[in-house]
Symmetry: C2
Subunit: 260 residues, 2 copies
Protein backbone atom coordinates (compact mmCIF):
# COMPACT_ATOMS: atom_id res chain seq x y z
CA UNK A 1 0.00 0.00 0.00
CA UNK A 2 1.22 3.43 -0.83
CA UNK A 3 2.22 5.78 1.95
CA UNK A 4 0.55 8.60 0.10
CA UNK A 5 -2.52 7.60 -1.84
CA UNK A 6 -1.85 9.67 -4.91
CA UNK A 7 1.58 9.28 -6.37
CA UNK A 8 1.49 12.60 -8.13
CA UNK A 9 3.11 15.70 -6.70
CA UNK A 10 3.71 19.15 -8.08
CA UNK A 11 7.25 20.00 -9.18
CA UNK A 12 9.22 23.27 -9.19
CA UNK A 13 9.03 23.29 -12.99
CA UNK A 14 5.29 23.94 -12.72
CA UNK A 15 6.08 27.56 -11.99
CA UNK A 16 7.71 28.00 -15.36
CA UNK A 17 5.19 26.40 -17.71
CA UNK A 18 1.91 24.55 -17.49
CA UNK A 19 3.37 21.08 -17.71
CA UNK A 20 1.62 17.98 -16.48
CA UNK A 21 2.32 17.36 -12.80
CA UNK A 22 5.59 15.49 -12.34
CA UNK A 23 5.32 11.86 -11.37
CA UNK A 24 6.76 11.30 -7.92
CA UNK A 25 7.75 7.70 -7.31
CA UNK A 26 6.94 6.08 -4.00
CA UNK A 27 10.58 5.72 -2.98
CA UNK A 28 11.04 9.48 -3.37
CA UNK A 29 8.14 10.07 -1.04
CA UNK A 30 9.64 7.63 1.47
CA UNK A 31 12.96 9.42 1.11
CA UNK A 32 11.19 12.65 1.96
CA UNK A 33 9.60 11.13 5.05
CA UNK A 34 12.93 9.77 6.28
CA UNK A 35 14.49 13.17 5.59
CA UNK A 36 11.85 14.79 7.77
CA UNK A 37 12.70 12.48 10.65
CA UNK A 38 16.38 13.31 10.19
CA UNK A 39 15.68 17.05 10.26
CA UNK A 40 13.42 16.84 13.27
CA UNK A 41 16.13 15.01 15.19
CA UNK A 42 14.07 11.84 15.68
CA UNK A 43 17.34 10.04 14.90
CA UNK A 44 20.48 11.91 15.92
CA UNK A 45 23.90 11.95 14.19
CA UNK A 46 25.78 8.74 14.95
CA UNK A 47 22.65 6.82 15.92
CA UNK A 48 21.14 3.95 13.97
CA UNK A 49 17.87 4.49 12.14
CA UNK A 50 15.28 1.67 12.15
CA UNK A 51 16.04 -1.37 10.03
CA UNK A 52 14.77 -1.57 6.47
CA UNK A 53 12.12 -4.09 7.51
CA UNK A 54 10.91 -1.82 10.32
CA UNK A 55 10.71 1.19 8.02
CA UNK A 56 8.91 -0.88 5.40
CA UNK A 57 6.29 -1.85 8.00
CA UNK A 58 6.06 1.73 9.25
CA UNK A 59 5.42 3.19 5.82
CA UNK A 60 3.49 0.17 4.54
CA UNK A 61 5.73 -0.39 1.53
CA UNK A 62 8.06 -3.20 0.51
CA UNK A 63 11.61 -3.46 1.75
CA UNK A 64 12.88 -2.80 -1.79
CA UNK A 65 11.20 0.57 -1.87
CA UNK A 66 12.68 1.61 1.48
CA UNK A 67 15.98 0.29 0.23
CA UNK A 68 15.97 2.54 -2.81
CA UNK A 69 15.07 5.54 -0.66
CA UNK A 70 17.96 4.83 1.71
CA UNK A 71 20.28 4.26 -1.26
CA UNK A 72 19.76 7.85 -2.32
CA UNK A 73 20.25 9.19 1.19
CA UNK A 74 23.44 7.16 1.48
CA UNK A 75 24.79 8.45 -1.84
CA UNK A 76 24.26 11.97 -0.51
CA UNK A 77 26.18 11.02 2.64
CA UNK A 78 23.20 11.73 4.87
CA UNK A 79 23.26 8.21 6.24
CA UNK A 80 25.88 5.47 6.25
CA UNK A 81 25.11 1.80 5.73
CA UNK A 82 27.02 -0.85 7.61
CA UNK A 83 26.33 -4.42 6.63
CA UNK A 84 25.29 -6.58 9.52
CA UNK A 85 24.92 -3.60 11.85
CA UNK A 86 22.41 -1.17 10.47
CA UNK A 87 22.05 2.25 8.85
CA UNK A 88 23.40 5.23 10.78
CA UNK A 89 22.88 8.96 10.62
CA UNK A 90 26.06 10.47 9.18
CA UNK A 91 28.12 12.78 11.37
CA UNK A 92 31.03 15.14 10.80
CA UNK A 93 32.66 13.67 13.91
CA UNK A 94 33.49 10.51 11.95
CA UNK A 95 37.22 10.18 11.50
CA UNK A 96 36.98 8.90 7.95
CA UNK A 97 34.93 11.78 6.60
CA UNK A 98 36.88 14.59 8.26
CA UNK A 99 38.25 15.68 4.93
CA UNK A 100 35.08 15.63 2.92
CA UNK A 101 34.84 19.42 3.02
CA UNK A 102 38.54 20.25 3.36
CA UNK A 103 40.10 19.63 -0.02
CA UNK A 104 43.54 21.03 0.82
CA UNK A 105 45.99 18.16 1.18
CA UNK A 106 49.76 18.02 1.69
CA UNK A 107 51.87 17.64 -1.46
CA UNK A 108 53.41 14.48 -0.07
CA UNK A 109 51.69 12.02 2.19
CA UNK A 110 48.01 11.34 2.60
CA UNK A 111 45.31 13.72 3.88
CA UNK A 112 45.75 14.04 7.62
CA UNK A 113 49.19 12.47 7.65
CA UNK A 114 50.58 15.62 9.27
CA UNK A 115 48.42 14.99 12.29
CA UNK A 116 45.41 17.04 13.30
CA UNK A 117 45.23 20.69 12.29
CA UNK A 118 45.93 23.28 14.98
CA UNK A 119 42.95 25.61 15.11
CA UNK A 120 43.33 29.11 16.47
CA UNK A 121 40.42 31.51 16.79
CA UNK A 122 41.66 35.02 16.00
CA UNK A 123 38.38 36.79 16.42
CA UNK A 124 34.71 36.08 17.01
CA UNK A 125 32.00 38.66 17.35
CA UNK A 126 28.43 39.55 16.66
CA UNK A 127 27.86 41.94 13.75
CA UNK A 128 25.30 43.25 11.28
CA UNK A 129 25.08 41.56 7.89
CA UNK A 130 26.27 43.68 4.97
CA UNK A 131 24.18 43.65 1.83
CA UNK A 132 26.15 40.90 0.08
CA UNK A 133 26.52 38.70 3.17
CA UNK A 134 22.79 38.99 3.77
CA UNK A 135 21.99 38.10 0.17
CA UNK A 136 24.18 35.00 0.29
CA UNK A 137 22.78 33.77 3.62
CA UNK A 138 19.21 34.59 2.73
CA UNK A 139 18.92 37.31 5.38
CA UNK A 140 18.09 41.00 5.33
CA UNK A 141 20.77 43.66 5.43
CA UNK A 142 21.49 44.49 9.04
CA UNK A 143 20.33 41.17 10.43
CA UNK A 144 22.51 39.84 13.19
CA UNK A 145 25.32 37.51 12.19
CA UNK A 146 28.22 35.84 13.94
CA UNK A 147 31.58 36.54 12.40
CA UNK A 148 34.71 34.57 13.18
CA UNK A 149 38.26 34.48 11.92
CA UNK A 150 40.61 31.61 12.47
CA UNK A 151 43.94 30.19 11.34
CA UNK A 152 44.61 26.52 10.72
CA UNK A 153 48.19 25.34 11.00
CA UNK A 154 49.74 22.08 9.87
CA UNK A 155 52.97 20.95 11.52
CA UNK A 156 53.24 24.43 13.03
CA UNK A 157 52.94 26.27 9.71
CA UNK A 158 49.94 28.59 9.34
CA UNK A 159 48.31 27.39 6.14
CA UNK A 160 44.67 28.43 6.10
CA UNK A 161 43.04 31.71 7.10
CA UNK A 162 39.26 31.69 7.22
CA UNK A 163 36.59 34.30 7.75
CA UNK A 164 33.28 32.72 8.67
CA UNK A 165 29.78 34.21 8.76
CA UNK A 166 26.82 32.49 10.40
CA UNK A 167 23.25 33.65 10.85
CA UNK A 168 22.93 34.51 14.56
CA UNK A 169 19.49 33.01 15.12
CA UNK A 170 20.18 29.29 14.64
CA UNK A 171 23.49 29.60 16.49
CA UNK A 172 22.16 31.33 19.57
CA UNK A 173 24.64 30.90 22.42
CA UNK A 174 27.74 30.33 20.30
CA UNK A 175 30.62 32.28 21.86
CA UNK A 176 34.28 32.83 21.12
CA UNK A 177 35.15 30.75 24.17
CA UNK A 178 32.99 27.85 23.03
CA UNK A 179 34.70 27.94 19.63
CA UNK A 180 38.19 28.32 21.05
CA UNK A 181 37.81 25.50 23.56
CA UNK A 182 36.36 23.03 21.09
CA UNK A 183 39.04 20.92 19.49
CA UNK A 184 37.59 19.10 16.53
CA UNK A 185 35.79 19.81 13.28
CA UNK A 186 33.63 22.91 13.51
CA UNK A 187 30.78 21.18 11.68
CA UNK A 188 30.75 18.49 14.37
CA UNK A 189 30.20 21.19 16.98
CA UNK A 190 27.37 22.64 14.91
CA UNK A 191 25.47 19.38 14.69
CA UNK A 192 25.83 18.37 18.34
CA UNK A 193 25.21 21.79 19.87
CA UNK A 194 22.86 23.50 17.43
CA UNK A 195 21.26 20.66 15.47
CA UNK A 196 22.61 22.23 12.28
CA UNK A 197 24.02 19.70 9.89
CA UNK A 198 26.01 20.80 6.82
CA UNK A 199 25.08 18.54 3.97
CA UNK A 200 26.41 20.14 0.82
CA UNK A 201 28.59 23.08 -0.16
CA UNK A 202 29.53 25.14 -3.18
CA UNK A 203 33.01 26.60 -3.57
CA UNK A 204 34.29 29.37 -5.84
CA UNK A 205 38.05 29.33 -6.20
CA UNK A 206 40.36 32.09 -7.34
CA UNK A 207 44.03 33.04 -7.20
CA UNK A 208 44.62 36.27 -5.29
CA UNK A 209 47.63 38.10 -3.86
CA UNK A 210 48.07 38.13 -0.07
CA UNK A 211 47.03 41.60 1.13
CA UNK A 212 45.13 43.40 3.89
CA UNK A 213 47.10 41.80 6.69
CA UNK A 214 46.43 38.28 5.58
CA UNK A 215 50.10 38.00 4.62
CA UNK A 216 50.98 38.58 8.27
CA UNK A 217 48.66 35.92 9.66
CA UNK A 218 49.83 33.38 7.12
CA UNK A 219 53.46 34.52 7.41
CA UNK A 220 54.07 34.95 3.72
CA UNK A 221 55.41 37.90 1.73
CA UNK A 222 52.98 40.62 0.77
CA UNK A 223 51.50 39.80 -2.63
CA UNK A 224 52.19 36.05 -2.50
CA UNK A 225 49.55 34.24 -4.57
CA UNK A 226 46.98 32.51 -2.37
CA UNK A 227 44.08 30.26 -3.19
CA UNK A 228 40.88 32.15 -2.40
CA UNK A 229 38.05 29.75 -1.58
CA UNK A 230 34.54 31.07 -1.00
CA UNK A 231 32.28 28.41 0.38
CA UNK A 232 28.55 28.44 0.91
CA UNK A 233 27.39 25.49 3.00
CA UNK A 234 23.81 24.20 2.96
CA UNK A 235 21.69 22.26 5.42
CA UNK A 236 19.06 19.56 4.90
CA UNK A 237 16.47 21.88 3.43
CA UNK A 238 19.12 23.28 1.08
CA UNK A 239 19.17 26.52 3.07
CA UNK A 240 22.47 28.45 3.05
CA UNK A 241 23.75 28.35 6.64
CA UNK A 242 27.36 29.41 6.44
CA UNK A 243 29.56 31.63 4.35
CA UNK A 244 33.27 31.00 4.57
CA UNK A 245 36.02 32.90 2.83
CA UNK A 246 39.27 30.99 3.03
CA UNK A 247 42.79 31.79 1.94
CA UNK A 248 45.02 28.79 1.42
CA UNK A 249 48.79 28.71 1.11
CA UNK A 250 49.73 26.36 -1.72
CA UNK A 251 53.48 26.14 -1.32
CA UNK A 252 53.35 22.84 0.55
CA UNK A 253 49.72 21.89 0.00
CA UNK A 254 47.32 21.77 -2.93
CA UNK A 255 43.58 21.70 -3.48
CA UNK A 256 42.68 18.27 -4.68
CA UNK A 257 39.67 17.61 -6.84
CA UNK A 258 38.32 14.56 -8.63
CA UNK A 259 36.30 14.87 -11.83
CA UNK A 260 34.06 12.02 -12.84
Amino acid sequence: MAAISTSFASSPADELANTTPAFSPLYQQIKGLILQSLQSGEWKPGEAIPSEMDLAARYRVSQGTVRKAIDELASGHLVVRRQGKGTFVATHAEQNIQFRFLKLVPDSGTPGSEGPAQREIIDCRRARASADIARILGLRSGDSVLQARRVLSFAGTPTILEDIWLPAAPFKGLTAERLANYHGPMYALFETEFNVRMVRAEEKIRAEPATDGRELLLKVAHGTPLLSVERIAYTYQDLPMELRRGYYRTDTHHYRNTLN
Copy 2:
Protein backbone atom coordinates in the same frame (compact mmCIF):
# COMPACT_ATOMS: atom_id res chain seq x y z
CA MET B 1 21.83 -18.85 -14.00
CA ALA B 2 25.06 -17.12 -13.18
CA ALA B 3 27.24 -15.80 -15.97
CA ILE B 4 30.28 -17.03 -14.09
CA SER B 5 29.75 -20.21 -12.15
CA THR B 6 31.73 -19.23 -9.08
CA SER B 7 30.82 -15.90 -7.60
CA PHE B 8 34.11 -15.51 -5.80
CA ALA B 9 36.92 -13.46 -7.26
CA SER B 10 40.26 -12.32 -5.87
CA SER B 11 40.56 -8.70 -4.81
CA PRO B 12 43.50 -6.26 -4.89
CA ALA B 13 43.59 -6.37 -1.10
CA ASP B 14 44.79 -9.96 -1.30
CA GLU B 15 48.25 -8.66 -2.07
CA LEU B 16 48.42 -6.93 1.30
CA ALA B 17 47.21 -9.63 3.68
CA ASN B 18 45.87 -13.15 3.50
CA THR B 19 42.22 -12.22 3.69
CA THR B 20 39.42 -14.44 2.53
CA PRO B 21 38.68 -13.93 -1.15
CA ALA B 22 36.35 -10.98 -1.66
CA PHE B 23 32.80 -11.77 -2.66
CA SER B 24 32.07 -10.48 -6.12
CA PRO B 25 28.37 -10.02 -6.73
CA LEU B 26 26.88 -11.05 -10.03
CA TYR B 27 25.98 -7.52 -11.06
CA GLN B 28 29.63 -6.50 -10.66
CA GLN B 29 30.65 -9.27 -13.00
CA ILE B 30 28.01 -8.17 -15.49
CA LYS B 31 29.28 -4.62 -15.15
CA GLY B 32 32.76 -5.87 -16.00
CA LEU B 33 31.48 -7.67 -19.09
CA ILE B 34 29.63 -4.59 -20.31
CA LEU B 35 32.75 -2.52 -19.61
CA GLN B 36 34.75 -4.91 -21.80
CA SER B 37 32.35 -4.40 -24.66
CA LEU B 38 32.61 -0.64 -24.22
CA GLN B 39 36.40 -0.76 -24.28
CA SER B 40 36.54 -3.04 -27.29
CA GLY B 41 34.34 -0.64 -29.21
CA GLU B 42 31.49 -3.12 -29.70
CA TRP B 43 29.23 -0.16 -28.90
CA LYS B 44 30.61 3.22 -29.94
CA PRO B 45 30.12 6.58 -28.19
CA GLY B 46 26.68 7.95 -28.96
CA GLU B 47 25.24 4.58 -29.95
CA ALA B 48 22.64 2.64 -27.99
CA ILE B 49 23.67 -0.50 -26.16
CA PRO B 50 21.26 -3.48 -26.19
CA SER B 51 18.14 -3.19 -24.06
CA GLU B 52 18.13 -4.46 -20.50
CA MET B 53 16.05 -7.47 -21.54
CA ASP B 54 18.47 -8.32 -24.34
CA LEU B 55 21.47 -8.07 -22.05
CA ALA B 56 19.70 -10.17 -19.42
CA ALA B 57 19.15 -12.89 -22.02
CA ARG B 58 22.72 -12.59 -23.27
CA TYR B 59 24.25 -13.00 -19.85
CA ARG B 60 21.57 -15.38 -18.53
CA VAL B 61 20.67 -13.21 -15.55
CA SER B 62 17.54 -11.34 -14.53
CA GLN B 63 16.74 -7.86 -15.77
CA GLY B 64 17.21 -6.52 -12.25
CA THR B 65 20.79 -7.66 -12.15
CA VAL B 66 21.59 -6.06 -15.51
CA ARG B 67 19.80 -2.98 -14.26
CA LYS B 68 22.03 -2.66 -11.22
CA ALA B 69 25.14 -3.10 -13.37
CA ILE B 70 23.99 -0.36 -15.75
CA ASP B 71 23.08 1.85 -12.77
CA GLU B 72 26.71 1.88 -11.71
CA LEU B 73 27.95 2.55 -15.22
CA ALA B 74 25.46 5.41 -15.51
CA SER B 75 26.54 6.93 -12.19
CA GLY B 76 30.11 6.94 -13.52
CA HIS B 77 28.87 8.70 -16.68
CA LEU B 78 30.02 5.86 -18.89
CA VAL B 79 26.53 5.40 -20.27
CA VAL B 80 23.44 7.59 -20.28
CA ARG B 81 19.92 6.26 -19.76
CA ARG B 82 17.00 7.78 -21.65
CA GLN B 83 13.58 6.56 -20.64
CA GLY B 84 11.60 5.17 -23.54
CA LYS B 85 14.61 5.27 -25.87
CA GLY B 86 17.40 3.15 -24.50
CA THR B 87 20.82 3.30 -22.88
CA PHE B 88 23.56 5.09 -24.80
CA VAL B 89 27.32 5.14 -24.64
CA ALA B 90 28.33 8.51 -23.21
CA THR B 91 30.31 10.89 -25.40
CA HIS B 92 32.19 14.12 -24.84
CA ALA B 93 30.50 15.51 -27.95
CA GLU B 94 27.25 15.87 -25.96
CA GLN B 95 26.37 19.50 -25.53
CA ASN B 96 25.16 19.08 -21.97
CA ILE B 97 28.30 17.48 -20.62
CA GLN B 98 30.79 19.83 -22.31
CA PHE B 99 31.64 21.36 -18.98
CA ARG B 100 32.07 18.21 -16.97
CA PHE B 101 35.85 18.55 -17.07
CA LEU B 102 36.13 22.34 -17.39
CA LYS B 103 35.27 23.80 -14.02
CA LEU B 104 36.15 27.40 -14.86
CA VAL B 105 32.94 29.38 -15.22
CA PRO B 106 32.21 33.08 -15.74
CA ASP B 107 31.53 35.11 -12.59
CA SER B 108 28.17 36.15 -13.99
CA GLY B 109 26.02 34.08 -16.25
CA THR B 110 25.89 30.34 -16.68
CA PRO B 111 28.65 28.04 -17.94
CA GLY B 112 28.89 28.48 -21.67
CA SER B 113 26.83 31.65 -21.71
CA GLU B 114 29.72 33.52 -23.30
CA GLY B 115 29.43 31.31 -26.33
CA PRO B 116 31.91 28.62 -27.34
CA ALA B 117 35.55 29.01 -26.34
CA GLN B 118 38.00 30.07 -29.03
CA ARG B 119 40.76 27.48 -29.15
CA GLU B 120 44.19 28.39 -30.51
CA ILE B 121 46.99 25.87 -30.82
CA ILE B 122 50.27 27.64 -30.03
CA ASP B 123 52.54 24.67 -30.45
CA CYS B 124 52.37 20.93 -31.03
CA ARG B 125 55.33 18.65 -31.38
CA ARG B 126 56.75 15.25 -30.68
CA ALA B 127 59.19 15.03 -27.77
CA ARG B 128 60.87 12.71 -25.32
CA ALA B 129 59.26 12.23 -21.93
CA SER B 130 61.15 13.72 -19.02
CA ALA B 131 61.43 11.66 -15.87
CA ASP B 132 58.43 13.18 -14.12
CA ILE B 133 56.19 13.25 -17.21
CA ALA B 134 57.05 9.60 -17.82
CA ARG B 135 56.27 8.67 -14.24
CA ILE B 136 52.89 10.36 -14.34
CA LEU B 137 51.87 8.80 -17.66
CA GLY B 138 53.23 5.37 -16.77
CA LEU B 139 55.95 5.51 -19.44
CA ARG B 140 59.73 5.25 -19.36
CA SER B 141 61.97 8.29 -19.49
CA GLY B 142 62.69 9.13 -23.09
CA ASP B 143 59.56 7.48 -24.47
CA SER B 144 57.93 9.43 -27.25
CA VAL B 145 55.19 11.87 -26.23
CA LEU B 146 53.10 14.50 -27.98
CA GLN B 147 53.29 17.93 -26.43
CA ALA B 148 50.86 20.71 -27.21
CA ARG B 149 50.26 24.20 -25.95
CA ARG B 150 47.04 26.08 -26.49
CA VAL B 151 45.16 29.15 -25.38
CA LEU B 152 41.41 29.27 -24.77
CA SER B 153 39.71 32.63 -25.04
CA PHE B 154 36.25 33.66 -23.91
CA ALA B 155 34.66 36.69 -25.57
CA GLY B 156 38.05 37.50 -27.08
CA THR B 157 39.91 37.47 -23.76
CA PRO B 158 42.67 34.86 -23.39
CA THR B 159 41.73 33.07 -20.18
CA ILE B 160 43.30 29.62 -20.14
CA LEU B 161 46.78 28.49 -21.13
CA GLU B 162 47.33 24.76 -21.25
CA ASP B 163 50.32 22.52 -21.79
CA ILE B 164 49.26 19.01 -22.72
CA TRP B 165 51.26 15.79 -22.80
CA LEU B 166 50.00 12.62 -24.44
CA PRO B 167 51.71 9.25 -24.88
CA ALA B 168 52.58 9.08 -28.58
CA ALA B 169 51.64 5.43 -29.16
CA PRO B 170 47.84 5.56 -28.67
CA PHE B 171 47.63 8.88 -30.52
CA LYS B 172 49.55 7.82 -33.62
CA GLY B 173 48.76 10.20 -36.47
CA LEU B 174 47.74 13.17 -34.34
CA THR B 175 49.21 16.32 -35.90
CA ALA B 176 49.20 20.00 -35.14
CA GLU B 177 47.01 20.56 -38.22
CA ARG B 178 44.48 17.98 -37.06
CA LEU B 179 44.29 19.70 -33.67
CA ALA B 180 44.16 23.21 -35.07
CA ASN B 181 41.41 22.39 -37.59
CA TYR B 182 39.20 20.60 -35.13
CA HIS B 183 36.72 22.92 -33.51
CA GLY B 184 35.14 21.22 -30.54
CA PRO B 185 36.11 19.54 -27.30
CA MET B 186 39.51 17.87 -27.54
CA TYR B 187 38.23 14.80 -25.71
CA ALA B 188 35.56 14.35 -28.39
CA LEU B 189 38.32 14.23 -31.01
CA PHE B 190 40.17 11.66 -28.94
CA GLU B 191 37.25 9.29 -28.71
CA THR B 192 36.19 9.47 -32.35
CA GLU B 193 39.67 9.39 -33.89
CA PHE B 194 41.71 7.32 -31.46
CA ASN B 195 39.17 5.30 -29.50
CA VAL B 196 40.51 6.89 -26.31
CA ARG B 197 37.78 7.89 -23.89
CA MET B 198 38.58 10.02 -20.85
CA VAL B 199 36.46 8.75 -18.00
CA ARG B 200 37.86 10.33 -14.86
CA ALA B 201 40.44 12.93 -13.88
CA GLU B 202 42.34 14.16 -10.86
CA GLU B 203 43.24 17.83 -10.47
CA LYS B 204 45.79 19.51 -8.21
CA ILE B 205 45.18 23.21 -7.84
CA ARG B 206 47.57 25.91 -6.69
CA ALA B 207 47.96 29.68 -6.83
CA GLU B 208 51.04 30.75 -8.76
CA PRO B 209 52.39 33.99 -10.19
CA ALA B 210 52.37 34.43 -13.98
CA THR B 211 55.95 33.92 -15.17
CA ASP B 212 58.03 32.30 -17.92
CA GLY B 213 56.17 34.02 -20.73
CA ARG B 214 52.76 32.82 -19.61
CA GLU B 215 51.93 36.42 -18.65
CA LEU B 216 52.39 37.38 -22.31
CA LEU B 217 50.12 34.68 -23.72
CA LEU B 218 47.40 35.47 -21.17
CA LYS B 219 47.99 39.22 -21.48
CA VAL B 220 48.35 39.89 -17.76
CA ALA B 221 51.05 41.66 -15.77
CA HIS B 222 54.11 39.66 -14.80
CA GLY B 223 53.50 38.07 -11.41
CA THR B 224 49.70 38.20 -11.56
CA PRO B 225 48.29 35.33 -9.48
CA LEU B 226 46.97 32.52 -11.68
CA LEU B 227 45.19 29.30 -10.85
CA SER B 228 47.54 26.43 -11.65
CA VAL B 229 45.59 23.28 -12.46
CA GLU B 230 47.42 20.02 -13.04
CA ARG B 231 45.13 17.37 -14.43
CA ILE B 232 45.74 13.68 -14.95
CA ALA B 233 43.00 12.09 -17.04
CA TYR B 234 42.27 8.37 -17.00
CA THR B 235 40.67 5.97 -19.46
CA TYR B 236 38.39 2.98 -18.94
CA GLN B 237 41.06 0.77 -17.42
CA ASP B 238 42.07 3.60 -15.12
CA LEU B 239 45.25 4.13 -17.10
CA PRO B 240 46.66 7.69 -17.08
CA MET B 241 46.37 8.93 -20.66
CA GLU B 242 46.87 12.67 -20.47
CA LEU B 243 48.74 15.18 -18.38
CA ARG B 244 47.55 18.74 -18.61
CA ARG B 245 49.03 21.75 -16.87
CA GLY B 246 46.65 24.66 -17.07
CA TYR B 247 46.90 28.28 -15.98
CA TYR B 248 43.60 30.03 -15.46
CA ARG B 249 42.95 33.74 -15.15
CA THR B 250 40.49 34.31 -12.33
CA ASP B 251 39.71 38.00 -12.72
CA THR B 252 36.48 37.36 -14.61
CA HIS B 253 36.07 33.62 -14.03
CA HIS B 254 36.31 31.24 -11.11
CA TYR B 255 36.80 27.54 -10.56
CA ARG B 256 33.55 26.11 -9.36
CA ASN B 257 33.36 23.03 -7.21
CA THR B 258 30.54 21.24 -5.43
CA LEU B 259 31.13 19.30 -2.24
CA ASN B 260 28.63 16.65 -1.24
